[in-house]
């Protein structure tokens, strides 16, 4: 696989996973930025396990998922049913706490970071194919689960919570339980994504996990469409890939273009490009085609 394609695909996949990790709790109006901190915590944990204890990558990756889930669950005990603003504040605070702890931990390189992560499977090619296979598998798995969730009772309950918490509660929705579940799953996904993110670069530095990452995920979700999982899938490669094709003179304006795009979309199309109605019509069309095929 050509190297630029590998980096484009793998980083896009991580961006999609991170965006989905933010999308999921946003279904109950929780902007859960702790996901970015969880990427760092799980990533550094996995790197430490591999580099210091010689733990095989597969186990380190699982530990990363587990670490993300545990941290997410612990935090969700306190903010499972908190208002959006409180969740945002906790998320930002957690990013600061995670950064401060990591930069003071000599065992994970402190402010210098961790260098020279080994190739999975021993060779660069095997490393790349393994990373790509894991990411592809994860995208399919998480995408499938999100799709199932969106079409389940839980998904409808989440939609009710998003619109009106009190109304949802009066309908019997366990707001706290649902919030905790979504936050925990979201952090589990982010934990795994964080491990893979660092292993793509074969190094970890705290500046891989900055607010810029929050900005990327936010733009992907809100421009792509926050009401369905598909906006993320469409926008992540566009947002990351298209600027690479810009001539240098336009690249300098990249951040301005992102900002203008975000503002324009929020004003003109608040639900983003891929709306729930659009997805519904596509699904109806596809299911209609299927029926026709079955009849013929």
């Amino acid at each position: 696989m050509p190297l630029p394609l590998y980096y484009f695909l793998s980083i896009t996949a991580v961006n999609i996973l991170l965006s989905w990790a933010l999308y999921l709790p946003y279904r109950v109006a929780h902007l859960h930025f702790i996901t970015v901190a969880n990427m760092a915590i799980s990533g550094y944990t996995a790197a430490w396990l591999v580099m210091t204890l010689n733990v095989p990558f597969a186990w380190a990756l699982l530990a990363g998922f587990a670490m993300g889930g545990i941290v997410g669950w612990l935090v969700s005990l306190f903010i499972g049913d908190a208002p959006t603003f409180a969740v945002v504040i906790v998320g930002f605070t957690f990013i600061f706490i995670a950064r401060t702890v990591i930069e003071n931990l000599k065992a994970v390189g402190g402010t210098m970071g961790i260098f020279g992560l080994p190739n999975i499977g021993g060779s660069p090619d095997t490393h790349r194919w393994t990373i790509m296979a894991i990411l592809a598998g994860l995208l399919l798995l998480v995408g499938f689960l999100l799709h199932r969730f969106d079409h389940s009772r839980l998904g409808r309950a989440a939609s009710a919570v998003f619109v009106d918490k009190e109304l949802a509660a009066s309908l019997g929705v366990d707001i706290r339980g649902l919030g905790m579940l979504l936050q925990t799953v979201s952090c589990t996904i982010a934990g795994g994504a964080g491990v893979l993110y660092g292993f793509i670069y074969k190094s970890f530095h705290l500046d891989f996990f900055t607010f810029a990452l929050v900005g990327i995920a936010m733009t992907i979700i809100f421009v792509g469409g926050y009401a369905t999982q598909w906006g993320t899938v469409v926008l992540a490669p566009i947002l990351y890939g298209v600027p690479l094709l810009f001539p240098p003179s336009i690249q300098e304006w990249r951040i301005v273009i992102y900002g203008a795009l975000l503002v324009l979309v929020l004003v003109l199309k608040p639900e983003g490009f891929i709306t729930r109605r659009f997805v519904f019509s596509i699904e109806s069309f596809l299911s209609g085609s299927r029926k026709k095929r079955n009849i013929s």
Binding site: L3, Y7, M112, F204
Partner: protein, 384 residues
């Protein structure tokens, strides 16, 4: 159908042979992975200016082996994602590159250069980062511990009255390691180093930090933080009655335009260490200074502005002295020749001074301590 298939096969074979006989290109293209946009775009601008300046001088003098050299700025926007993708694009056919800048992008993208055996000069980072990617890069600076301990000791020796020193330290990349080296130098003289005061990267108010430092009753203070933060800390110190300005020492990374713009006259008398001496009086340096001033509203060249200027000349030397042709068919071998040359170059004529490299590390670069006076640096001493 068979005929068409045969034609296709023949065409494919023909195209596959085209690469084998590719002639050397008509110019030397050197990509520079640099942060041209984003938070450190102003630094990226003068790093690139230095490289472009060297290319212009070389081209005016006939180029490298008779062919012009061209620096191609590749913006990584301080973004590891973009940096790695750009590096992945470059490693296919680039002979040698400059950058990346700064540390997060270096860590994300240099492993790609190493894996593909492409030399890329990371001339702004410390040895502690660069050495992880040897031999495919070189360090522009000697070991932090070896270099900074004697340097700070030389500063402290000036003041026999100084007994206790405190450090303001910002947790970024190699900076805590530099602060540790300062401690070694100062304690080696029998002075006491008090607890460091951590400067948050996003600090807005500096009064509480200064109060915390002054509570420890220091006689001297070392600043290991961003230029603007250092300037604001010094202003707060003066507001709280600090008098001994030369008992303040700023580390090299604070020597940037923001320091002088933010500090103004309030930082007069403070001392600062660095690796270049702007007071040097040679035709080459004077021409550099003049050219920089004319393209930057009369400003003096910042301390890092010469790094990639020298790096381009080092690449020129490597190409000329190792017989590199630039032919795509010899890419792998010629990349290795350049990397090997740079690892152990002897008597390299930098714009400021000559120096040697041993196994990728400079062995005899001098350092300087200056006193700041009205935005200018007045030499106090050279430390070798």
């Amino acid at each position: 159908m068979k005929k068409a298939f045969g034609v296709l096969i023949a065409a494919a074979l023909l195209f596959s042979l085209v690469g084998c006989g590719q002639p050397a290109p008509k110019e030397w293209t050197i990509p520079f992975l640099n942060s041209l946009t984003g938070a450190i775009a102003s630094i990226g601008e003068y790093l690139e200016w230095g490289a472009e300046r060297a290319a212009k001088e070389i081209n005016d003098a006939g180029g490298i082996k008779g062919k012009p050299v061209r620096i191609v700025g590749v913006d990584t926007a301080l973004d590891p994602q973009k940096g790695s993708t750009e590096m992945a694009r470059l490693v296919k056919d680039t002979l040698v590159a400059l950058g990346p800048v700064p540390e997060p992008v270096i860590m994300a993208s240099m492993p790609i250069a190493v894996e593909n055996g492409m030399p890329s000069i990371t001339a702004t980072t410390s040895l502690e980062y660069a050495q992880k990617f040897f031999p495919w890069t070189i360090s522009w600076f000697p070991s932090t511990q070896d270099r900074l301990a004697p340097l700070v000791a030389a500063w402290a020796k000036q003041f026999p009255d100084m007994k206790q020193v405190v450090q303001f330290v910002e947790n970024y990349g190699p900076w805590p390691g530099m602060a540790d080296a300062h401690v070694a130098g100062i304690t080696g003289l029998g002075m006491k180093v008090l607890d460091k005061v951590e400067v948050p990267s996003d600090a807005v108010t500096f009064g509480p930090l200064v109060v915390k430092a002054l509570n420890e009753k220091p006689d001297g203070i070392v600043f290991v933080c961003k230029p603007a933060s250092a300037a604001k800390l010094i202003k707060e110190l003066k507001n709280r009655g600090w008098k001994n300005m030369d008992h303040l020492l700023l580390f090299s990374s604070a020597d940037a335009p923001d320091l002088y713009a933010t500090g103004g006259k309030d930082i007069n008398g403070a001392e600062i260490y660095n690796y270049i001496n702007p007071n040097l009086d040679t035709p080459r340096w004077n021409a550099f200074k003049q050219a920089y001033a004319s393209s930057h509203n009369g400003e003096q060249p910042p301390s890092l502005s010469t790094n990639y200027y020298d790096a381009v000349y080092m690449i020129k030397d490597a190409i000329e002295k190792t017989g590199v042709t630039g032919s795509p068919s010899k890419l792998k071998a010629e990349r290795k020749m350049i990397a090997d040359y740079m690892q152990n170059v002897k008597g390299f004529h930098g714009i400021m001074f000559d120096w040697d490299m041993k196994d990728g590390v400079p062995t005899n670069k001098p350092t300087y301590i200056f006193k700041i006076q009205d935005g200018q640096k007045v030499m106090v001493q050279e430390v070798k």
